[in-house]
């Protein structure tokens, strides 16, 4: 049975449909054109995945400009490795892996820079309404909780919750087996759940209202 995890992504399963075959052939054509230096083809190839890549990068970095840079660098790396992409596998997972790695690398550099420049990292004043302030604080709490995880667990948590990848795709992205990916995700989510229990409850309450 075909496993349809998220939009445009089939992982494994029964004979592919005509739509799937068409998508694969279009993807293949765009890849070959991009490898020939066609910028539009490359943009067309990555455009459907840009929101997810940005979401991952923004989650990891917590900074818009840094997230944009991370996405751009991830795209550059993805292009350089494009000839190694195996058609038929998840292109989203292929891209997301680069986005996670680049975002984490840029964040490390940014932290070092901030530590050097200013030890007293005062949170920015928010002239926005209280709800926005709470949302920003919640986002920061999530980032802090992610930061306490080991790098691989942090990566799989973002790939699962932000990029909505399947276990097979996560395994492809981080270079492990599907079983290992499943265990990594389980451990990461368990730790996050413990750290963010109060926020999860608040979120549930607000959803019920």
């Amino acid at each position: 049975m075909a496993q349809h995890v998220c939009p445009n992504v089939f992982v494994t399963g029964a004979p592919p449909s005509d739509d799937r075959l068409g998508a694969v052939s279009l993807e293949h054509e765009l890849i070959s054109r991009a490898l020939d230096g066609d910028g539009r083809a490359f943009a067309g190839l990555v455009e459907p995945h840009l929101p997810v890549l940005y979401r991952i990068a923004a989650r990891a970095c917590g900074d818009r400009a840094l997230a944009e840079d991370a996405v751009q660098e991830a795209l550059t790396l993805a292009f350089e490795r494009l000839s190694g992409y195996e058609p038929g596998t998840s292109f989203r997972a292929f891209l997301a892996a680069f986005a996670v790695r680049r975002a984490q690398t840029l964040l490390r550099g940014e932290r070092r820079r901030r530590t050097r420049e200013d030890a007293s990292d005062v949170p920015p004043s928010l002239p926005n309404p209280a709800e926005l302030a709470r949302a920003l604080q919640a986002a920061q709490r999530v980032r802090d909780a992610l930061a306490t995880l080991p790098e691989k667990r942090r990566a799989v948590a973002m790939l699962r919750l932000d990029a909505e990848l399947s276990y097979a795709e996560i395994a492809q992205a981080v270079g492990t087996t599907e079983g290992s990916a499943r265990v990594l995700v389980h451990m990461a989510l368990k730790e996050l759940r413990q750290q963010l229990a109060d926020l999860v409850r608040e979120e549930e309450t607000s959803e019920e209202r």
Binding site: Y54, R55, R59, E68, K190, L196, V200
Partner: protein, 153 residues
């Protein structure tokens, strides 16, 4: 609570705190993606190209300066020969009028009047100054040397 519950709850929290790109950001990212194939990274050996070029240039200069060229061997020596010195002394001063034009009539008178005016000005012409005895003796020595050189040559 099942295993899926923590994931569902966390997913809701992640969705609520996720940052979605604005339209302008997406446009910018797409534009950057379009530029990516045109901005391939330079191969590593190209990073060394400027240093190699400088080294090659330096090597070429060292090699070329080590060997005297054929034209360098035939260059005239810096010492001035006696005949050249004599020629420089006896070279007549250029005439005031262009060659082939003779001042005539009133023009000649005006030219001479102009020369009279020039007499009043201090001159720096070496040939105009009278030769003293020492200069004459030196000139005789040079002339004798030139004659002997011509005879020998």
């Amino acid at each position: 609570m099942t295993d899926l519950d923590p994931e569902r709850e966390l997913k809701a929290l992640f969705d609520a705190t996720a940052e979605a790109p604005t339209g302008a950001q997406l446009t910018k990212l797409k534009a950057r993606a379009t530029d990516v194939p045109g901005r391939r990274r330079r191969p590593l050996w190209l990073l060394w190209a400027p240093f190699l070029a400088v080294a090659a240039g330096f090597f070429a200069v060292v090699v070329l300066r080590g060997k005297p060229g054929p034209e360098q061997a035939h260059l005239p020596s810096a010492t001035i020969t006696a005949s050249e010195q004599i020629a420089s002394v006896v070279t007549p001063a250029p005439s005031l009028a262009p060659p082939g034009e003779e001042p005539a009539g009133d023009d000649l008178d005006e030219s001479l009047a102009g020369l009279d005016d020039l007499d009043d000005e201090p001159t720096t012409d070496v040939l105009a100054a009278p030769l003293d005895d020492a200069d004459e003796e030196e000139l005789d020595v040079w002339l004798a040397a030139a004659d002997s050189f011509l005879e020998e040559g």
